[in-house]
């Protein structure tokens, strides 16, 4: 029986300084929600407020419809996996897993059963007698997750749990957490600053900036239709190319833009922008092409650097106006530095933002 989490106008203030500005959010039962954003955006604070580790300054936190603002952390039915793992160094893995259950005064047999089940799920049975210092980073992470599992919580919270792991282990653990979610079916809220983690794990991504939600949606919705320039730049790797542009003409059927000296014909209408308006036009690196004849011409650039990734070639280039661009093309392309290229793009994949940065 999964749990719904609702935030209604939730605020956080430290003295006079407000860091979370009235957030409204609904996380559906069994959903894997990821809070993502740059450092200092308030994503960890929001998670800690849900956990009960930070008091809520304003608004309501509802878990399955019940107001939880004043309910102590331990009684919210929440388990949390910390960035540092927060394992008790003087206790064995078994004792770490059993600590919460012993605190709740569960019978010893019940504790043993739950610990054994969690250990089996996470494949840490051989480690139960070891101390945390005798474990690798990945094993510690598993124990930290195990400590959450044994409590059989309604909601799992993860606070940047993979940031201390190396790249390979991070990918492995990412897959394991996703599998765990499928297996347990609980509501999970996961905080990260890594948009790749967000894209690969989430059912729902919540993009935060400076204590506000910028956009909420499924990963591909955010990728395909970012609501503003910030989301467009934050979701997707490498980040979207943004060029300053001017609307030459616009009507109900389409619009003509001028960007980096190149006329771009958009086959769709622009909302609330007439001729002469200053806008930004965005194209993802993987949507740009360097072969002539496909799509429409987008921008003329000079190649500054080429990275060969094997299956893909990354081209870093500059427009005549000095705007940096990244082009990701499939396969291994041999391109000399200083080469002049004309990029092409499918106009349906272009993103246009008004002077306030909102998608139009």
């Amino acid at each position: 029986m999964a749990t719904r989490v609702m935030l209604q106008q939730v605020q956080k203030r430290y003295g006079e300084v407000e860091v979370i500005h009235g957030i409204d959010l609904s996380i559906e039962p069994g959903e894997f929600a990821v809070f993502v954003g740059p450092s200092g955006c308030g994503k960890s604070t929001l998670l800690r407020m849900i956990a009960g580790l930070e008091p809520i300054s304003g608004g309501d936190l509802l878990i399955d419809g019940q107001r939880m603002n004043a309910v102590p952390a331990a009684k919210r039915g929440i388990a949390m996996v910390f960035q540092s793992y927060a394992l008790y160094p003087h206790m064995s893995v078994y004792q770490n897993l059993a600590f919460g259950l012993e605190t709740a005064r569960l019978p010893k047999a019940e504790i043993a059963t739950r610990v054994a089940r969690a250990a089996e799920i996470l494949r840490i049975e051989p480690l139960l007698k070891r101390k945390p210092k005798q474990l690798s980073g990945g094993q510690r992470q598993r124990v930290a997750i195990g400590r959450a599992i044994v409590r059989e919580p309604r909601i799992f919270l993860f606070d940047e749990p993979l940031s201390n792991l190396d790249a390979e282990l991070r990918v492995q653990m990412r897959v394991e957490i996703a599998k765990l979610h499928k297996e347990l079916g609980n509501t999970m809220i996961y905080v990260t600053h890594d948009q790749v983690e967000a894209m690969t794990m989430a059912d729902k991504i919540v993009v935060l900036r400076a204590g506000n939600i910028e956009q909420v949606g499924a990963p591909l919705d955010l990728y395909n239709t970012p609501r503003n320039l910030f989301v467009a730049g934050f979701i997707g790797s490498p980040k979207m190319n943004i060029l300053a542009a001017r609307v030459e003409s616009a009507d109900g059927a389409g619009a003509k833009l001028l960007a980096a000296g190149q006329a771009i014909a958009l086959p769709r209408a622009l909302r609330a922008s007439g001729p002469g308006a200053r806008v930004s036009v965005g194209a993802r690196p993987e949507h740009l092409m360097i072969a002539p004849g496909s799509g429409i011409p987008f921008a003329d650039v000079t190649v500054d650097l080429v990275e060969q990734l094997g299956g893909q070639t990354m081209i870093y280039a500059t427009t005549a106006g000095g705007e940096a661009m990244t082009i990701a093309v499939d396969g291994q392309q041999k391109i000399a530095l200083g080469t002049a290229l004309t990029t092409h793009v499918d106009p349906a994949r272009l993103h246009v933002f008004d002077a306030d940065g909102l998608a139009i």
Partner: protein, 317 residues
């Protein structure tokens, strides 16, 4: 023919002569300044530490009254200490009682105050300095004199008790309470272990407590299951230091009892007895033997603590 041997001699002499100066010159040029800077330490270590230690070891096997030459008596001093010296037994009993009672009390008090100060209160540096002050002053003669005034028959403590209709005893001259006044003085000097506890508490990651609070642990369970175990390296360190300090304690007992260890030897600390033997009766050999026995006892206590530490001290790494 005559010139050949002289040439060999000259050659041999020159080789031998060149080897020694080259080694010396190399040492002097490479390490000379270093040794020069180390010289004060060498003088201090050999002249003021190692030398007196070895001399006292020698003197412990002699009769020596400072005025005549030491007279070797084998192990007679030690035999007498262990078989015919009631004051040794009494001083050891007083000192052990003092250490066993004052050290845990002082550590508990220091930890309690450190826990209070660790709760992020305002003006923390001021409180820290105030609480540390007795540790700076405590071992001084002035504070011992003040303590004597406080706990005397007509001292401030009894005057305070009179407000509640209680007629207090003369704490210092009553053998039932005299040692307790010294224990109170020792516990009052909790500042130094408190500072170390405070530093230790700051080292415990906050997320341990957050994880425990999510697990439903209350304050007492957190203290028992997280704070205390994670603080054991600091507790161990403080216990060792304070135990050694306790065994060495001298000034307060000397001042408060007027150097006698009275009433009826109830404050006859080991070091005070040692002092009486050395500078009261000028039995330097006997006092040296007492000093070496104290050293062995402290070493045994410390070794025992280290041996048992693996069962109760938790090191993260």
């Amino acid at each position: 023919m005559a010139s050949a041997p002289s040439h060999e001699v000259a050659q041999g002499g020159s080789v031998a002569g060149a080897a020694a100066p080259s080694w010396w010159a190399a040492a002097r040029s490479k390490n000379g300044p270093g040794y020069l800077f180390l010289l004060p330490w060498f003088i201090g270590f050999f002249g003021l530490t190692l030398g007196p230690i070895l001399i006292s070891l020698y003197l412990s096997f002699t009769d020596f009254d400072l005025l005549t030459a030491p007279h070797w008596n084998g192990g007679a001093n030690f035999v007498r200490i262990f078989t015919a010296d009631a004051k040794f037994i009494q001083s050891m009993r007083v000192t052990l009682f003092f250490v066993i009672v004052s050290v845990p009390l002082k550590l508990a008090f220091a930890l309690g105050v450190a826990l209070l100060l660790n709760r992020g209160m305002r003006g923390l540096p001021i409180y820290r300095a105030i609480f540390y002050l007795p540790s700076l002053l405590g071992a001084s003669v002035a504070i011992a004199v003040l303590w004597r005034q406080l706990f005397a028959g007509n001292g401030l403590v009894n005057q305070f008790l009179l407000n509640f209709g209680i007629v207090g005893p003369s704490w210092i001259s009553n053998p039932r309470y005299s040692l307790w006044t010294l224990i109170a003085l020792a516990v009052w000097q909790f500042g130094s272990p408190m500072i170390i506890f405070l530093a230790g508490l700051r080292q415990i990651p906050l997320d341990m407590y957050e994880a425990a609070s999510l697990d439903g642990a209350g304050r007492w369970r957190m203290f028992r299951k997280i704070t205390l175990p994670l603080l054991t390296p600091v507790i161990f360190f403080n216990a060792i230091i304070q135990t050694i300090e306790g065994f060495k304690s001298f000034t307060p007992a000397f001042i408060i009892s007027g150097g006698t260890g009275n009433p009826i030897n109830s404050t006859l600390f080991y070091t005070l007895y040692l002092y009486q033997e050395a500078f009261g009766f000028f039995r330097m050999g006997y006092a040296s033997a007492l000093a070496w026995i104290l050293l062995v006892i402290v070493a045994l206590f410390t070794s025992f603590s280290f041996l048992t530490s693996k069962y109760w001290v938790h090191y993260d790494n």
